[in-house]
């Protein structure tokens, strides 16, 4: 175990959604390289409280990279410098003594800042509510092995379903687009046999809910590069393809019904 010394933190402080924010500078004299990034912030907050100041607000929960609650732009990169790693899994061994670390909230029009480093990501929930599900009310399901899912299909669904809904894709995107998030959910459900009945309805509804709230995709690919679960850009291709088909298929379905 080694100690890092003399870290300069520039932390975004903002008292509320309407308030003007600013950077606040703090020096961290000493921190163990075994500490996680958020534990370093915990220590900063303990010191602020002991100085009678208000602690820095940031979202976090599981601290093992799965709940998707933590966020933070660290030196301009969503979840910091390490590939495929959430902020809570980032450890101080990634940094060195004397480093300056700039810490900001997600910056996106669809994720307004609530306070300090905390943002409102409920726009993601609206996308799922629009169609990110399979309609299967409790009680009527057939025996699980009656629905055969070839292993490669189950694997592909799982690759997309691994999304943790953290919002790094949106924060990294120059347009603030949510195509990787929406594409991941659509790809998860649209490749499975269980998801076929609502396939095109789902794609259309989710894309519209996404477009109502987020910017447009211009194929930069920053989203996938920033994604802590390494969701592939392929999901966007699948979403676009199903959305395009939905415009004819949904109309046909409606005309029958």
């Amino acid at each position: 175990m080694n100690q890092l010394t003399n870290l300069k933190l520039k932390v975004w402080r903002q008292t509320g959604p309407e308030a003007e924010g600013h950077f606040e500078t703090h020096t961290v004299e000493k921190v163990s390289d075994e500490a996680s990034f958020l534990e370093m912030l915990d220590q900063l907050n303990e010191r602020l409280i002991s100085d009678g100041k208000e602690a820095v607000v940031f979202d976090h929960d599981c601290r093992e990279g799965i709940c998707g609650t933590c966020s933070l732009m660290i030196n301009g990169r969503a979840h910091g410098p390490q590939r495929a790693t959430t902020t809570c899994q980032l450890h101080m061994r990634t940094f060195k003594s004397g480093d300056e670390i700039v810490i900001e909230p997600w910056r996106a029009a669809a994720f307004p800042v609530i306070k300090d480093l905390m943002v409102d990501r409920s726009s993601f929930d609206r996308i799922v509510e629009a169609g990110g599900f399979i309609t299967a009310p409790t009680g009527g399901a057939p025996d699980a092995n009656l629905i055969l899912v070839p292993k490669p299909v189950a694997d592909a669904a799982m690759d997309s379903a691994a999304c943790i809904g953290c919002g790094a894709c949106v924060a990294a995107c120059p347009n603030g687009a949510a195509n990787l998030f929406a594409g991941a959910k659509i790809s998860h459900l649209n490749v499975l046999p269980q998801g076929q009945s609502e396939r095109y309805k789902r794609a259309e509804a989710m894309v519209h809910a996404m477009d109502d709230q987020f910017g447009s995709c211009t194929n930069h690919g920053e989203c996938s590069a920033a994604c802590p679960k390494e969701i592939s850009l392929d999901v966007i291709a699948m979403m676009n393809s199903d959305f395009r088909k939905s415009k004819s298929k949904n109309r046909k379905a409606l005309s029958r019904g």
């Binding site: 601290r63 093992e64 899994q89 189950a154 269980q194």
Partner: protein, 640 residues
Amino acid sequence: MSTVLNAKIPAGALRDKWDNYKADAKLVNPNNKRKFKVIVVGTGLAGASAAATLAELGYQVDAFTFHDSARRAHSIAAQGGINAAKNYQGDGDSINRLFVDTIKGGDFRSREGNVHRLAQVSVDIIDQMVAQGVPFAREYGGMLDNRSFGGAQVSRTFYARGQTGQQLLLGAYQQLSRQIGLGGVRLFNRTELVDIVVIDGRCSGIVVRDLLTGEITSHAAHAVVMATGGYGNVYFLSTNAMNCNVTAAWRAHRRGAMFANPCYTQIHPTCIPQSDESQSKLTLMSESLRNDGRVWVPKNADDSRSAEQIPESERDYYLERLYPSYGNLAPRDISSRAAKRLVDKGHGVGPLKNGVNLDFSAAIARLGRDVVEERYGNLFQMYERIAGEDPYSTPMRIYPATHYTMGGLWVDYELGTTVPGLYAAGEANFSDHGANRLGASALMQGLADGYFVLPYTISNGLAPLLNKPAPTTDHPAFVQAETEARERFNAYLNVKGTRSPDWFHRELGKIIWDYCGMERTQQGLEKALSELPALYSEFKKDLRVTGTGESVNQTLEKAGRVDDFFQLGMLMCRDALDRQESCGAHFRSEYQTDEGEALRNDENFCHVSAYKWTGDPMAAELNKEQLVYETAHLATRSYK
């Protein structure tokens, strides 16, 4: 005066009880369901599945979570899998075998009727989750794959890589989201329960605090479900998420809901050992790793060589040696204590000598790296991120950590607490796991309660209330509860002492871990019970919460949660002191066999201890529910 606890177990043979219950239960006509409001607190597996299902049935549902989204609940972190008695592998599984394994795993301290029902509905859960699109692991032919977990000799665990909890929660969350979109459920996010309201002996609603504005408001309902998880964070360091807390359950307890078996807390054997003092939480490594990983320590306590340099003959594969028939898949409590004993004797590995090896070299040699990566890739990656070592080339270091709490709100067969109209589901209740939970059974229980139990039992409870007036939030009891909550949060802000809530939480956690952790003694528990009230009164005098109560204030949120953990901690130690036997995860050093295994005292302690609030957690009133075993035979557990 003690209350007679009626578990309301239906009549009939064990396998017929649930069918008999459903046949006799009262129903609410579809057109009348919309006249009832049900509040569900918590949106984890139990809460999300209950809220979605109740809304599908037609009830008006209000769901509450302190998270920003319903998808974040800590169910999401469950890795290994979910049990179900499908017998898809044809290896001799059955509902009865899952029932017996669970009763035995719980060391004969759970209720037969509830456990049997859990085993019965387990098969429906898998059907439901597959229909929701959960991408469970598959064989090449397209059928579902299974793996083994501790305490079982069959493969009945369904899994989605090492992210089973995530995928199940997303399934339930999507089903809930559909209902939110349709208007069947109103979701209140970033909203924390601060009290429940009981009027004329019936739960009439809840009081909540908006975490963004600090505003305190009331919500009335015909029934309230607490699906608020466990209390493992009382130890400060645990594998629970940072925000898991006991507040909702504890506030219900203070309003009359009995709290059962608080001393039954599970220490999970495979977690990443603590690396330094500032650590905020511990990370679990799924038990599924014990399918292929072998646990060992150096035979020589002073061995400082790296793992690869220690030859086979100088390694002690102690689980395989002590428990040959279950080997590395011995149940959690047993595996944890075995690790603790060897580390205490100086056989620990790693820089702080505080872990044991979990070695995959044999599995990699036998199966190839690709197969191991396919099965556990994300877990290996998680380990590498946290520990900074590559588990493909060097063994993982693991050590036990607090993980799950079997104790919780006392519930009857209908999952009703001792307050009529108030239900508890998932980890928040105490009902199914006895003194020790088997791996992959928490996800099963959460979804069983939410999908397949509560929808029936709540209808049975609501039917007699049709067209009867229910209290509204202008009732004086709501107004008073709101006032008390405001005063409580103002009080934390006004102590203006010198120590943060986290400082007190850490100190509290040390006491509970040292004296009410993996091994307990009378002397230690008495010491804890003398230290806790002193620390608690210091908390009330010397707490410092900066900021205000009118915008997001995580320090203030934490203060309220630590306050409730203190009171729970006292009750836990009292319960552990009272239970003069060892059973499952509750290990009292005074009561053990010559071989160091838990020694039960069935004559005096074959009961559930349920505590009633009296105003002082040190003086809670103990009530006993005798456990009756009609089918399973009380026997000494043996995994040898």
